[in-house]
């Protein structure tokens, strides 16, 4: 039970908030007397008592506002002079009176109060906290602030050299408050900052630096304070702020600081990130970053000094409103520079800087759309993982590159965010389970139909023969891909000593015959022996694709897709007009009926659509953009064939890809045609042939093969082991002719254009002259003799078939080919001479063409060029190709 004096009225003790009746006149008179008594004596009271008095006065005056109107008038007389007391407690008590009875004081009085506070802030004899408080009081009241916001009172706020930094900071606040009202704010602020201008040379953590940047920040938020209530005007103010000179001047100050005083760069980054984190001011922060990207980045030089700027680069990378190109290119140059300057004592620096660069790349991966960063970032990462001196950096770069290439954007961002909490210099590689693309949602079949109409995989160079047919000759060359047959592609196993000369079924088991043949081959005339040696050398170079990597043919193709139909089908969340749709993690699988071996599937990490149609018009005008169309909107894909049977064919294409919206695109594209000329390869050169003998070797090889395929020499049963030691082949030649009725210059041009690499010898003085002049065909054997008798003697070729029906002869009877071959050979031998003689006058010369057809076949042309027409004599050890060669030759012109 609390003790209370009995004189206290009961009403004061009751808990209820009773409604008091208005005071009677007697009460009022008493109150006035009490007030008058108190108001008369402020000078006699201690500061503590005055504080109690003033707060009591405020309460009383509030309660009796109407009844005791004279209070405020008395205040002015009795209290004003106390304000200049150097007891801050007293001053503050008096100030609170001013605050409550502002109407009692005119503007002059208020101005005097403001001036008094301004002076107190400069009073070096006063304790620091009271100087700070004086400034707070001054700016805590809008009434007082309005008195000092004019430029005339600003000099009082200029910080002095020996003002404590806290006071300097508060004075700078005052300047920015006043300055933000008018023009020339930044120059005022700069004047104010002179007192700590040496912060530029101090370390970034110095208090002076903090004070300086705080002042800039205060200026910005002074111009545009946060008040959550009015969003509307805030937005417009934002716009006007960004256009204002204050803003431009501040930007210049920042750029200058960043360029001239690199230790301040982290501080600038902190400054900007503080703005970015604020809802109201993040556009300002972004704008600063954009400006820095525009004005600072191009002025930076790669090299070790760039490390100062990493904090800023990180901020720029994090910001989605800044295009990452500039930063990435700078970093690329930086990595090149680091790689170039790497020496024995730079190991640690290379590591640390490389890791920093990668951490920026990581930020890029996380924050930016794949379409924006893919190209520059992949270049940077590719360079790094190939060339950077530090192993760890290389490894990490490779991981990032893989992630960039294989994980679609959204998923990638998620994946990278998982490692967020343990962010180090270079994050540890993520567990495989994270990188694995999770099970795809089932592809949308409806949408996937008809993708062939807008996703295209096209050959870079279309085949000469627009072939729509091809001949799957199952029986002729048994090339069973399942490997069940002992002779694949006409290659026989040596182990069993079985080397069937022909791929015919009948010969496969005829081991005794083969053994006989082998023995028989040992007794031959020296001429044939020489022939065989050349052939053995040659075949010894040809890899046996069954036991070792075979010969591969790479056909460059382009993958691209049209944006418009793509968007129509799949939809696309586009934040702006310029953004193109993209496909991620494209996997292309190939299948074919032809014997091209297993065609490895291709992966394209990322592909942008073709430019939208609306943009095409613009692109057409500006030439500068052509390059970007050329380079950015398709992917180069190589079809890698390992033919087991050199035949044209069709390759079916199946595509599997993700869209940016995580839908799955899958389906067949239009097939790609493989022509016979895709199979044309140069013969493999044995390793021991020196450069100067290359042309000679090819020429000799041509002659040898010509002869072997002509079977004037009996090597039909001879087997030649292939490289790999497990397989051997035999030569089973066929020949044909083709009469081309084209002028010699057209023919020479066509040869030079399409077959130049395969020409091994040109004979005939006039022809040699022409071909040599053209300088397309070089490094071959030039035979300038007029008479080609000798050459023809070695391999006289020709037949009595007209060129037109040559094919018919071959395809007529398969089973008796051997027989016919011999007959034809004999006949041709006899006719050849006469024909050659007849045509001799018309002849300009001969061109010998040696083409290797993988996996192990050959196609030989002997082009007897006359005036107006040319006879092409063909020999091959793979007769089915002749059918296509015929068309090919026609398509040459």
């Amino acid at each position: 039970m609390p003790l209370t004096p009995f004189t206290i009225p009961q009403i004061a003790l009751s808990d209820q908030n009773l409604v008091l009746s208005p005071p009677s006149d007697v009460n009022l008179r008493e109150i006035r007397r009490v007030l008058a008594f108190l108001l008369d004596r402020p000078r006699d009271l201690t500061p503590g008592a005055i504080s109690v008095l003033t707060s009591a006065l405020v309460d009383i005056a509030d309660a009796l506002e109407d009844c005791v109107p004279a209070v405020s008038a008395l205040l002015k007389v009795n209290f004003s002079s106390l304000l200049s007391s150097h007891n801050p407690f007293l001053s503050h008590s008096i100030l609170s009176l001013y605050r409550h009875f502002s109407e009692a004081f005119n503007e002059y009085d208020i101005g005097k109060v403001a001036y008094r506070l301004q002076l107190s802030a400069s009073d070096t004899g006063q304790k620091l906290i009271f100087r700070l408080l004086a400034l707070h009081w001054l700016f805590g009241s809008t009434l007082l602030t309005s008195q000092v916001s004019s430029l005339t009172s600003l000099p009082g706020f200029y910080p002095q050299v020996f003002d404590p930094l806290a006071v300097k900071a508060k004075k700078l606040d005052a300047i920015s408050v006043s300055a933000s009202e008018g023009d020339g704010a930044v120059s005022l602020l700069e004047d104010g900052l002179v007192c700590i201008s040496y912060f530029r040379w101090l370390p970034g953590w110095s208090t002076e630096t903090l004070v300086a940047f705080r002042a800039m920040h205060k200026l910005l938020i002074g111009v545009m304070p946060h008040d959550g209530s009015d969003n509307g005007p805030g937005r417009t103010r934002l716009g006007s702020l960004m256009e204002s000179t204050i803003f431009a001047d501040l930007e210049n100050v920042l750029i200058h600081l960043a360029l001239e005083h690199h230790p301040l760069v982290p501080v600038i980054a902190t400054f900007i990130s503080r703005l970015l984190q604020c809802e109201t001011h993040s556009p300002i922060g972004s704008r600063f970053l954009q400006t820095l990207d525009r004005c600072l980045i191009p002025n930076l030089k790669p090299g070790y000094g760039l490390s100062f700027y990493f904090p800023l680069l990180e901020k720029i990378s994090e910001n989605e409103t800044v295009a990452p190109k500039g930063v990435l290119e700078l970093l690329k140059r930086h990595m090149v520079c680091l790689t170039d300057e790497h020496g024995p004592d730079t190991g640690h620096r290379s590591w640390s800087q490389g890791s920093r660069v990668l951490s920026i790349c990581r930020v890029m991966l996380k924050k930016h759309k794949g379409s924006q960063i893919f190209r520059p970032l992949s270049l940077l990462l590719a360079f790094t993982c190939q060339n950077f001196p530090d192993l760890e950096v290389r490894d990490n770069a490779r991981i990032y590159l893989r992630m960039l290439a294989c994980i679609p954007g959204k998923k990638l961002r998620q994946t990278l965010s998982i490692g967020e909490q343990k962010s180090g210099l270079a994050p540890a590689p993520l567990p495989a389970s994270l990188i694995d693309v999770p099970p795809h949602p089932s592809p949308d079949l409806k949408k996937s139909t008809g993708i062939a109409s807008y996703i295209h995989l096209e050959r870079l160079k279309p085949p000469l023969v627009k072939q729509s047919w091809f001949l799957p000759v199952q029986g002729s060359v048994p090339a069973l891909s399942n490997g069940s047959g002992p002779a694949e592609g006409g290659i026989m196993d040596i182990v069993t000593s079985v080397a069937p000369s022909s791929p015919d079924e009948s010969n496969k088991t005829d081991s005794s015959k083969v053994a006989y043949q082998k023995e028989a081959s040992r007794v031959m005339d020296p001429n044939t022996a020489l022939l065989l040696r050349v052939l053995r050398t040659h075949f010894g170079c040809i890899p046996d694709y069954r036991v070792m990597p075979g010969i591969k043919i790479r056909i460059p193709c382009l993958l691209r897709f049209e944006s418009d139909p793509f968007i129509r089908t799949w939809g696309f969340e586009s934040c702006d007009e310029q953004t193109l749709p993209a496909l991620y993690a494209i996997k292309i699988t190939f299948s074919t009926l032809s014997k091209y071996g297993k065609i490895p599937s291709c992966r394209v990490p990322f592909l942008l659509g073709d430019l939208l149609k609306s943009d095409l018009a613009i692109v057409a005008v500006g030439q500068g953009n052509d390059e970007s169309i050329e380079h950015s909107n398709f992917a180069k894909v190589f079809l890698e064939l390992q033919p087991e049977d050199p035949m044209p064919g069709l390759i079916d294409i199946f595509i599997n890809a993700n869209t940016a919206t995580e839908q799955v695109v899958s389906g067949f594209l239009r097939p790609v045609t493989i022509g016979i000329e895709d199979m044309f390869l140069k013969a493999i050169l044995p390793p021991n042939v020196s450069d100067m003998w290359v042309s000679r070797y090819y020429s000799d090889l041509f002659d040898t093969l010509w002869e072997a395929c002509g079977s004037s020499v009996n090597i039909g049963r001879e087997t030649f082991p292939l490289n790999g030691g497990k397989g051997a082949v035999s030569i089973n030649g066929k020949q044909s002719v083709k009469f081309l009725e084209v002028p010699e210059d057209v023919l020479i041009n066509a040869v030079e254009r399409h077959l130049a690499g395969f020409v091994v010898r040109v004979a005939g003085a006039s022809l040699v002259k022409v071909v040599q002049q053209n300088r397309v065909i070089e490094n071959i054997v030039w035979d300038e003799k007029e008479e080609e008798e000798d050459d023809l003697d070695v391999g006289p070729s020709g037949d009595d078939f007209s060129a037109e029906n040559a094919l018919v002869a071959y395809s007529r009877e398969e089973s008796e080919l051997d027989v016919e071959y011999t007959q034809a050979e004999m006949e041709s031998n006899s006719n050849d001479r006469s024909l050659a003689i007849v045509d001799k006058k018309k002849s300009v010369g001969n061109i010998c063409v040696l083409i290797f057809l993988p996996p192990r076949y050959h196609l030989l042309f002997l082009m007897e060029i006359g005036y107006g027409s040319t006879m092409v004599r063909m020999r091959t050890d793979h007769w089915p190709c002749l059918a296509y060669v015929d068309e090919y030759l026609e398509a040459l012109f």
Binding site: A49, S51, T124, D163, L165, Y198, P263, H348
Partner: protein
């Protein structure tokens, strides 16, 4: 909420244990009822125990980098910390988080921090719960910082809380008490050279209350600003325990608290008055005067021989550059100290001479005084003096009529990293005639971050001595003061240092906390950063500056970043500003015959000769003052 009351006072040792605490149950009850009224349930928690306060203070120190905190928003600041509020005042008005195991923690605000004699004095004033709520909003704001243009900003909050100011007064009073200082200003009687003691020596001297004269400014450490104790208390004593901590006289403290702030509400903070009342009380010998109102701040009237002692004390802060692009700057702050030993309650009028020519700005006067400014040369202060010494008025001079007492330049050229050549050329007391007398003049070249190996060179006047970190040149030694003549002093020589030892860990940890970044790239930066500088000295300075510590906000600048010489001197016999008092025209009402003794003294504050050859800090002068 009426008046100014305190819920609690804690005094913490340098090691953050509570050395003394006092709570005021009356005030606490008011706080509770205010909470109930405002519906603030969570703030109703009882006051923390001493242990909890100590833990909270330690915790804050860890969170905020130092006992006082950052004061300014730094990279590591987070919402819910004082530095997030981004105002230097948060180094003085702090928040404590009281964490309780059994109950939910809460926030204690505003806690006033003042340091004195290595002790932290914490005062918790009573504020309305809704003010705490307002502060919490600032404290946890989710945007980038406050501007005074917003509603409910920190400034308006502070303006509406006089009790915070009161709490600082109390904290300072307690601080002075435990440090054994008096707040009495120095008044020198010209008749006797010794300083006059404090109030009521006869009354209090016997019981050993430390009423020692204020220490002379010259004894202040060279790096601290000597002009006032305020900057000192803020900075040099923070977080350091190198000086001995004097044990607290708890009886004295308890007596002071119960006398000066009964029930937690301050009445009179003058420790002399409190001590006198406490020891002597009021006897029949001190009847209150019948005809006059005796002010509360003057509980006793003086009896004895009547006299008035006056003294003007001026401090010159100067930055001398000797450069064309930067004008030298002077600022003079002065105060008039008074000790009026007059019987009864008289009024004294003090005419001031030379106020207008010197453009004197009267900053503040004593509570009992009024400054009147009428016409060209009619400035006067009228006051009714309290007992004892007091500061009658403080003023500032922007335009001195006298020339600088020490002029000249100082050049230091760092020839190499470990040595340099220096040259002084000074002129002392040029244009000063008798009775101006320079008592002493010393020049100190501090090299706080280097250890001096040797100094070569002989000055034209005076003697040179050397400590590990500084060189001291005594031009005029006390006892041999100069008067009426000009001295030209030159001193050229070389200084050599011990090789530098870099302490990197500190700068690294600092950069981490302030910038929020790692300094892993330091090695790179060191090699590259020299590109921007042109001359050797700049390179050397930049190199030196790399491991600078950030100074506290209470310091005016990062002294260690510069080479300078600090001049200390004392001049008696006149004022620098030219403003004086004519003792003969001092009038006392009611008229009594009392001699008026007047003395004048000029001392140097931050009187700095900046190295002319290097960068030096300066401030812009507003254009209309040029």
């Amino acid at each position: 909420m009426a008046g100014c009351s305190f819920r609690a006072i804690w005094i913490l040792t340098p090691h953050h244990s509570v050395a003394f605490s006092r709570t005021f149950p009356v005030v606490e009850r008011r706080w509770r009822s205010a909470c109930v009224r405002d519906g603030e349930v969570e703030t109703q928690a009882p006051l923390p125990s001493d242990l909890e306060v100590a833990a909270a203070f330690t915790d804050r120190k860890q969170r905020e980098g130092s006992a006082r905190g950052f004061g300014i928003c730094v990279a590591s600041s987070t919402p819910g910390s004082d530095s997030w509020v981004d105002d230097p005042v948060t180094r003085h008005i702090i928040t404590l988080h009281i964490n309780r195991e059994e109950a939910e923690g809460y926030m204690l605000w505003p806690v006033i921090v003042h340091t004195s004699g290595n002790y932290y004095i914490l005062v918790l004033p009573l504020v309305e719960p809704k003010k705490v709520r307002e502060y919490r909003k600032l404290y946890q704001r989710n945007n980038c910082g406050g501007s005074v243009k917003e509603h409910d900003n920190l400034s308006s909050l502070l303006l509406s809380l006089p009790c915070i100011t009161g709490a600082f007064m109390v904290a300072h009073a307690i601080g002075d008490l435990i440090a054994g200082e008096t707040s009495d200003p120095e008044v020198v009687a010209t008749s006797s050279s010794s300083a006059v003691g404090g109030l009521l020596d006869t009354l209090t001297g016997s019981i050993g209350i430390g009423v020692a004269p204020r220490p002379k400014p010259t004894s202040v450490p060279i790096l601290a600003s000597a002009s006032s104790a305020a900057t000192l208390m803020g900075s040099t004593l923070v977080d350091s325990s190198r000086t001995m901590t004097k044990p607290i006289d708890k009886d004295l403290l308890r007596g002071f608290i119960s006398g000066s702030m009964p029930y937690g509400t301050p009445v009179d903070l003058n420790q002399n008055n409190i001590a006198a009342i406490r020891t002597t009380g009021f006897g029949s010998a001190d009847p209150p005067p019948a005809d006059l109102r005796q002010p509360a701040w003057k509980p006793y009237l003086y009896r004895g021989r009547q006299r008035v002692l006056l003294m003007t004390q001026e401090t010159i802060n100067a930055a001398l550059y000797d450069r064309e692009d930067i004008p030298d700057s002077f600022s003079i702050s002065g105060q008039i100290n008074c000790r009026a030993e007059l019987e009864g309650l008289p009024d004294v009028q003090l005419p001031l001479i030379g106020v207008k020519p010197a453009k004197v700005k009267m900053l503040s006067v004593h509570q009992s005084a009024q400054y009147s400014d009428h016409g060209e040369d009619k400035q006067a202060i009228v006051f009714s003096p309290p007992v004892g010494s007091f500061v009658l008025a403080r003023y500032q001079v922007s335009h001195a009529t006298n020339p600088a007492p020490v002029k000249g330049f100082y050049q230091l050229s760092l020839v190499s990293e470990d040595g340099g050549q220096f040259l002084f050329r000074l002129t002392l007391m040029e244009g000063y005639k008798s009775p101006y007398c320079m008592d002493f003049c010393t020049i100190i070249m501090p090299f706080p971050r280097r250890r001096i190996l040797s100094v070569d060179g002989t000055p034209s006047v005076g003697t040179v001595s050397m400590t590990e970190r500084s060189i001291e040149w005594k031009i005029v030694t006390s006892g041999r003061g100069i008067s009426g003549k000009t001295i030209d002093a030159t001193f050229s020589g070389t200084v050599r240092f011990h090789p530098r030892v870099v302490n990197k860990s500190l700068s690294v940890s600092l950069s981490k906390s302030v910038l929020g970044c790692t300094a892993a790239e330091d090695s790179d930066e060191e090699r590259e950063s020299s590109n921007n500088s042109v001359n050797v000295e700049d390179v050397l300075m930049e190199k030196l500056n790399r491991d600078l510590e950030a100074v506290d906000l209470e310091e005016p600048l990062c002294w260690q970043a510069f080479n300078y010489a600090k001049v200390s001197f004392k001049i008696t016999g006149g004022t620098f500003s030219g403003m004086t008092i004519d003792p003969k025209s001092v009038s006392i009402y009611p008229v009594v015959k009392a001699p008026v003794e007047y003395s004048m003294q000029v001392t140097s504050g931050d009187y700095i000769l900046w190295n002319t050859l290097a960068r030096s800090p300066h401030a812009a002068v507003p254009k209309d003052l040029c």
